[in-house]
Amino acid sequence: MTQKNWTPLDRNAIAKRVAKDIPEGWYVNLGIGVPTLVADNVPADREVIFHAENGILGIGPAPEPGKVNPWLINAGKQYITLMKGGSYFHHADSFSMIRGRHLDLCVLGAYEVSASGDLANWARSSTDTAPAVGGAMDLAIGAKRVWVAMQHVTKDGAPRLVESCAYPLTSMACVKRIFTDLAVIDVTPQGFAVREIIDGLSFDELQAMTGAPLIRQDAA
């Protein structure tokens, strides 16, 4: 085996890379896992308003130890804080914001994304023993943009960017951009278009770890 000239991004680095692309003023919902880490990676001088399904706009940083408010959790059931300007509302209003296309962005994790932007992130099979969907389908169809943050391949090395999803779909043709530990890839009408590759990894090496054709695209 040849020596690798590259190191995949860790979870926080993926989140940091996502945060870089979020402009001031966007309303953003973050899914569980790597997406949740995005909030802490937005520069302090850039106001981004984070939304939680359970009726919160304006999520602030995690509470300091000993200063937890047990009434204030996000959709991942983690303790959070509220920024100045934040607000509370009920679940039907919260999902009106989601379904009504008021969120500029939702960042989700995924099992698989297809070359046409189909998202599979809620069930591992159609006979899942105890499935759970939560707000994933609402977010996938409702946000103005869906970005995915995930590992490029499975633990077994199988690609997660595929021609068509094997897992049950969350929503069709919804993903616009994918941030992995190896690359940033746009979903275009022509398929997966590579925006960035991590240092030391070649296009062909990335292609080899991807289950559908990649299109070369200059970052410019």
């Binding site: 001031e24 106001e47 308003i49 706009l57 100045k84 300007g85 607000s87 009106s96 379904r99 008021h102």
Partner: protein, 226 residues
């Protein structure tokens, strides 16, 4: 720093095109964004579709837009109120198209637009003149009408308080259609009586979160008139 405040009415209204659909908050004389509505007059746009509960109240706001011939179509529940002579003249002379909608259906159609619900069944108006030509279906043993979401290009609302994120509160009966209009339009513009520092509004008491509001202009116009 997010700052949704516009320095004046003209800037707040910038970009409204001819033939836009404009949703107006307010019920009777209370909670109408009269100065924004009159600002629309000054932008010169024409051929508007206006969605509002009443066809203007008194001689201000919508009544002026109607009088100046800027409105092609009115979607409305109760156009005929005391003093709405401008509406009656235009309507009876065929210069104004009217879509009459039951008040609750009007509110729900806008709420549906804001909530991403393109259509819903309602019992209101089933088997009446106002359901003619619409799809019907029985639920719970009663006829229901399929009604469509009512989307706005622009919403003009009046708030009591606002902060720079666009969070809004209302006063008393001034709430009415305002929060519903705010959520249903692509571009929501609020005139507010009072400006508050970010964080001064209690997060439990904000009625329209800023996600539904694009621009705010400070117009301390005082008590309702009309």
């Amino acid at each position: 720093m997010i700052d949704k405040f516009s320095p004046d009415i003209a800037e707040a209204l910038d970009g409204i095109p001819d033939a836009a659909t404009i949703l107006l908050g307010g019920f009777g004389a209370v909670g109408q964004a009269n100065l924004l509505i009159e600002g629309v007059l000054e932008t010169g746009v024409r051929n508007l579709t206006i969605v509002a509960n009443n066809a203007g109240y008194g001689k201000v706001g919508l009544a002026r837009l109607l009088k100046e011939g800027r409105v092609r179509k009115l979607i409305c529940s109760y156009p005929r109120i005391v003093g709405s002579t401008i509406f009656e003249e235009l309507y009876s002379s065929g210069k104004l198209e009217l879509e009459l909608v039951p008040q609750g259906t009007l509110a729900e159609r806008m709420r549906a637009a804001g909530a991403g619900i393109p259509a819903f069944f309602t019992p209101t108006g089933a088997n009446t003149l106002l359901s003619q030509g619409k799809e019907m279906r029985d639920y719970n043993g009663l006829p229901h009408v399929l009604e469509q979401a009512l989307y706005g290009d622009v919403a003009l609302v009046e708030a009591w308080e606002a902060d720079r994120w666009g969070n809004l509160t209302y006063r008393d009966a001034g709430r009415n259609f305002n929060p519903v209009c705010a959520m249903a339009a692509k571009l929501t513009i609020a005139q507010t009586q009072h400006v508050r520092e970010l964080g001064a509004l209690n997060p439990e008491h904000i009625v329209t979160p800023g996600i539904f509001v694009d621009r705010v202009v400070h117009i301390p116009c005082g008590d309702p008139v009309g």
